[in-house]
Structure formats: C-alpha cells, structure tokens
Symmetry: C2
Subunit: 428 residues, 2 copies
C-alpha cells in the first residue's frame, strides 16, 4: 500500500503535507463511497471480513514481529496482552466486521420532513460526516473496528495506530483493502497513517478543514493530548469517574448486586463504578461495603464510611476525582439525595452515574438533575456500552456536550443536510 509506508519520492514530505495528501485521497474515496448503495457497502465489508480470515497466517506473523519487538523494548505484560493476536482473537475481529456490515445504514434516513405554507418541502437527511481521524494505541482490533464503522456510515477514515502495533496494523489494513478492492469499493476510504514520525499526530490534530472529526481511542494521556492540541472537533471521553448512589429506599439485595457488578465485573472499563455514595439512612450500608471487600476490592472512605467497616482505608481528597480502573473504590456516606447530587456534580466526569432506589420521585430527580451522558436507575453502570445499548458497536463513548453523547455508533458518525424541494418559489 502506497499509503502505509513513505516511498522514496515522499520521504522528504513534511507531516502536514503527508496528512494533506492522505486527506485528499480519503476525501476523494469518500465521494466514491457516497455513491455506493447500502447493499454495496455491506458487501464490501463482508469481503473485508473474509480477507481478514484468509490472511490469518500473514496477520499472525506480523503480530509476532510486533510482539517480539515489544518484548525487546520492555513493554509491560498488560501492553503485550493488548497487542497480542491469536486465531481466536482474529476470528473475533473478522466477525465484528461482519456484524457491522449487518447493521442498518443510517445514511439517507429522513430525520424529519415539513411542508411550508408556500409549498416548499423540507427534509433533513442523514449524510456521512466525511473524513474521520482515529488515533489509537496498541490494540490492533481498533484498525478493523474503526474502519468498519466508518465505512458502514459512508465515511473515510485515517487510522493512526501505535508504533508498537505497526506490522499488525499494516497486515490488517492490507487484508481490508484487498477485500474492498475485490468488490470495486474505494480502497482509500481506509488508510493507515505511517507511524515513523510522531509529528504526524500533531498534523492530524490541526488539520481543520481536511479532517472533519478526530476520535482518540486509548488511555487518559492520549485523550488528554488530543483534547489539548486538536483544532479539529474531537469525540471522546477523558475518563469515567462513575458514581453509584444507594438511596435510603434501595432494595437491600439489589444494592449489593448492582454495586458489586458495577465495580467488580470488569474493573478496567470506563463504565466501572469508581465512587460509591451511601445514604446515611440506608440500613444495609455495612453489608454493601462488606460484599465489595469480600470480593477483593480495596475501599477508601470518608470518616463515616470507615465507621461502617474497619477494613476501609482513609480516602484523600484526590480519591474523589480518581478513575482507578482497578479493584479500588472510594466510598462516601451522604445525607440524602441532595448531598448525593452535590457530590456527583462536583466529582463526576459526566460519563455514567447511577442511583439505586425503589422511590420513583428520587429516581426522577436523580435522572433529571445529574448532568451526565448516561444516567441510570437500578442498573449496573457497566451497561454503559454501545453493544449493551443495542447500537451494534461503538466507536467510543463521548462525554462532551455537542454532536453525540454517550456511546457513539453509526448514527454519531453522520450529520445531516437540509433538502429543500420547490416548484419555483421566490422569497417575497
């Protein structure tokens, strides 16, 4: 692929020129992509999934090179695990591409329609955003996932993966490209930006007018850097400091089950609970904290929480603003709903916050007044996920306030245009 490696003719290209060249190719491919039917787009993705399966040997060999280099470079075990592919994981990646192919195409959907008194007929119609930049770290599956979601919704993508996964990503991209080419779909709709020069990331972030949106996928430092430097709109969440508030009217068993699941099912995901707020009048607080501790969670609490169980460590001020992504939880005892709302307003990262209660009025106030992308009653915050929401897949979860919030899937990769049909109307 000419787009994967700098060839001699372009070796002196600046990062800005490289991004401009690839963006132009991507935009041209996007215009071709816009002419494909829904069925054509789905067929192209199925061909891409099939090519991933056919290239298993090449992709796993490329991945082995990355793993060897990663070990030599001292990557942590966790990083190596994120990087590692095997036959099962690769099959999962191909299946995910097939799944995206089977999702409904949002492009062309008529959002609303109005006929004006003068006879003009107005419709708002969903259209692709255009060219989307995805900046991610070591997981090679993002290459296929993001490419598939972008393509399904009629967008071209510029993928910039981590340098530690360069061979894996190139092999995956080669398979995807061959799949698209086999059905005549525009291959430049999915391009991989070279990783040799780290300045390319900066050039992508400032390519306003060339790239329409950037989606960072990775750890907090990557997202923070993207948010700080981008001149292109960014869809992201910096962290998920998710709260669960156990209200006085909570059911005892539900409170235990929901909080345990919200924290301990998987501790490393952004929807995991990081702070537990216990209503001072709830009679079963000690049981709730005991069940978490006995499941292996370290609890850090304020003075009133610590009075519930001697195994709770003291929390520092910092704990209330910390996303542990680990089996650690901060716990505060609060005096009722207003105090809980106040704590959430001060410390939430506006990702997902939940209440456990049997009191409808309390639930409604919590749902209305908590200003987060996702608010829940009587459910584990670990449901904060595009798949669980029935969106089929997600490109990420956004905690900003514009465009799309919460899990972002195909619809979030579209915008709309106004289509006005007249019969010669002029404005008086």
């Amino acid at each position: 692929m000419a787009t994967q490696t700098l060839d001699p003719a372009t070796a002196q290209e600046t990062p800005e020129a490289l991004v401009a060249r690839m963006a132009a190719a991507g935009r041209a491919a996007q215009r071709q992509l816009a002419l494909l039917s829904d069925a054509d787009k789905a067929a192209a993705l199925r061909a891409a999934a099939q090519a991933l399966r056919a290239d298993e040997a090449e992709i796993l060999a490329a991945n082995a090179r990355d793993l060897a280099a990663g070990e030599a470079n001292g990557l942590t075990k966790a990083m190596l695990d994120r990087l590692k592919l095997d036959a099962g994981r690769l099959a999962g990646i191909a299946d995910a591409v097939d799944q995206v192919a089977s999702l409904a195409d949002p492009v062309g959907e008529v959002i609303d329609r109005a006929e004006r008194p003068n006879g003009l007929v107005l419709t708002r119609v969903r259209v692709p955003i255009g060219l989307i930049g995805i900046i991610y770290e070591s997981r090679p599956n993002v290459t296929a996932d993001a490419a598939a979601l972008g393509f399904r919704s009629g967008n071209a993508v510029l993928l910039r993966g981590g340098s530690e996964a360069v061979h894996s990503n190139q092999a995956i991209l080669a398979a995807l490209s061959r799949g698209l080419a086999s059905v005549g779909a525009p291959v430049d709709a999915i391009q991989l930006v070279p990783t040799q020069d780290r300045a390319v990331v900066g050039a992508m972030l400032t390519a306003a007018g060339l790239i329409d949106m950037i989606v960072p996928r990775g750890g907090k430092s990557l997202v923070a850097r993207v948010q700080a430097d981008a001149r292109v709109p960014v869809l992201a969440h910096l962290d998920g400091i998710c709260h669960t508030y156990v209200h006085v009217a909570a059911d005892r068993e539900m409170a235990k089950a929901v909080t345990l699941n919200a924290k301990m099912r998987r501790t490393g995901i952004c929807g995991a609970m990081e702070t537990l707020l216990l209503d001072a009048r709830f009679p079963h607080n000690a049981e709730v904290v005991a069940s978490l501790i006995e499941a292996g969670c370290e609890l850090r609490g304020d003075a009133r929480a610590r009075a519930l169980d001697p195994r709770i460590q003291p929390a520092s001020d910092e704990d209330w603003d910390t996303e542990y992504l680990d089996a650690i939880l901060s716990v505060a005892v609060v005096d009722g709903l207003d105090a809980a709302l106040d704590h959430v307003a001060r410390h939430s990262s506006n990702h997902t916050d939940a209440i456990v209660t049997g009191d409808d009025a309390a639930a409604t106030r919590f749902l209305n007044q908590v200003d987060s992308a996702i608010v829940m009653v009587n459910a584990s915050s670990q449901f904060a996920d595009g798949g669980e929401f029935g969106l089929g897949a997600e490109i990420g979860i956004a905690t900003g306030r514009l465009h799309a919030r919460g899990p972002v899937a195909l619809e979030g990769l579209t915008t709309y245009k106004w289509v006005v049909r007249g019969t010669g109307q002029t404005r008086p």
Copy 2:
C-alpha cells in the same frame, strides 16, 4: 447589574478570572433554570418582552448615547444603521422575544426509546447544552434575540456585544433581567460581559470546560477570529458563497424568477446567490443574465458567459471564491451537471446551493452530491433562513459538519442524555 460593569472590588480581575466568575454564575443560574417548567420559562420571557416595552424611553436614550459616540468615532452609515433603534425596531425586538416564548420547548423531548432483551429501558432525552457564549457586533437586537433563544431552550448565555452598542445592550439587558426577576426566574441566566477589555473575548474563546459553545454573530473577520482562536466548540458559518445552477431542463420563466430573487431580493444576506452557473445547452441563458443586469446587478463572467452579453465584465480567479454581499454576481457557463457539481465542490462554502431543473434525475443527483448544509431544487437560495424553515427563529446558520447544520434554532441549542431504567440488572 453587578455583572455589567467592573465594580471596584473586581477592577483588577484578569479577563480569565472575570470569565470564570461569570461562567460560574451562569452555570448556577442554568441549574435553576433547568428546574423551571416549560410554562414558567415562557412566562419569564413574556415578562422580559413586557419589560422591554416598558423601558422604551430608557433604551432609546441609551441608544442615542451610542449613536452620538458612534458618529463622533466615525462609524460608517451602515454601521450606524445597524446600531440604531427606534420605537418600531424596539417593538419588533420585544415581539421577537414573545415569539420565542411561544415556540415549543425542545427540552425533555424523548428522541428515541428502546427496551433491551434484559428489560433495561433506554431513552434519549433532550437537555440544554449548558452555558453558551454569544459574541456579536453592533446590532443591539442580538442581545434580546440570543438571550431569548438561549433561555427558551434552558441554557444560560454570556453575551459579548460590540463596544459601540454598550449602552444600548446594558439598557436591554436591564429590562430583560427585570422581567425575569419579576417572575422569580434566575437573572444570571442572561449576563452581559463587559466590553472595556477586548482580552475578554479571548478569555471566552479559550474557556473550555466553562463555556460549552460559542456562537459568533457578525462579519467575516469576527467569525474568522473566533474560529481561529476558539478552544470551545463554535457554531458558525464563515461565509455564504451560494451557487445556483440553471440546468438544461430548467423552465425558462422559473430560471429567471429564481435567479433574480436569489441574487437581488436582498444582496447582503448570507443566503444570497453569489455565483450563477449556466448550463451551456440551456437555450435562455442570455435572457437570464439580461434580467439580472437590468435589475441593477453587476455581472462578472468567464469567457463563455461574457459571450452571452457584452455588459458582463471579466471575472478574475478570485471572483469564484468571493461573497460579494452586494449587487455583484459571478457567472460561469458549464458543460452539464458534472461540470456544475465540480465547480460547486471546488468553490462552495457549504452554506446553500441550488439547482433549477425540471429533470428529476438531475435534481436528485445535485441534492445527493452537493455537500452543503442546505441544498435546494427550484427555489431561491434566499429561503435559507430559520424563520422560512419554520423553526421560529435562529441563533445562526452553521456550515460545520458536527452537531447542527444549516439554520440553528432551539433544537440546535440542546443536546441529549441517555436515561437507563432498570429493575436491578447486572451485566453478565
């Protein structure tokens, strides 16, 4: 109003501290505003409209001070006209606030609802964006219009008007505030940022996390500065280089009427046609250009256009990218739909582009392939307006691709949250 002028205690405040303080007050007011019912918000705006009428003498006196200062400072006639209020214009401003009060409240609308197989019920519910900064120039009506639209959709606004309108804006703000206060609505939901220090604009533009969105209202240099410097999302259009393409299958009279209206009804609005594309095979091109010239329009054309009429001046390369906002029009003769699409793709500012044709297939291709916020068939581009679209009013027209496109009204001032209702579900 404490928020209008720097009092001695805060005279040493930095622009950043000033914006942070006003943003905090605005956000607190927005939380109060969020608790008001639809009827309460409408009543507060009606009281504000009534206060504008009651304060006619004060507002016109303040405006007279601004006009006198403007004349002394050598403002142009056009600027003085934009600045000037009289009893009729002020009544129009008050009526517009009443009209916004009567619009349907988008907040609380359920966008969609789904029940998952596990029993979780998901709804997406419209909520206000939060705190919106409006940066505008000399027109004092923007103070009331933007405040009303923001308030109606549950948002707080930070208004930063031009220094030449400072007294007019303060008088209007005082009336609006008194109206809100008379019904117990949070007055800090509408604040006017002092104009003494121009650095305050920069502080607003970089107040990410404090201000949720900036809407610039004014000339191209203001919008360009806001787009270049903002770290807060911006909703805007830089210019409106709107095309009308007269296709070979256009109706002769319709082509003349639509192009004449698109250019000459009002030449200074962003939806005015700036470039006319004539299909080489359309037999009535000479009549179309003659009707424009005879209406007083200066035409600048390519060689083939000039062959249609000796009164057409030669166009320079620059003309194809120029928004005249005047009785001037660039004209090119193109070889069919593909050449027209190509010209539009290269030169449109993605605001509004139109085709005149009786051929449905050509219309459909144009509507699908032109990538602008508004695309039209057989209608004057001057309809590109929130009022004409039935939105009641508009805060502006956006040509970006994210969040809202085209005329932006109340819905564009909202976002959504995901509300998840469970019965104790945990994720497997």
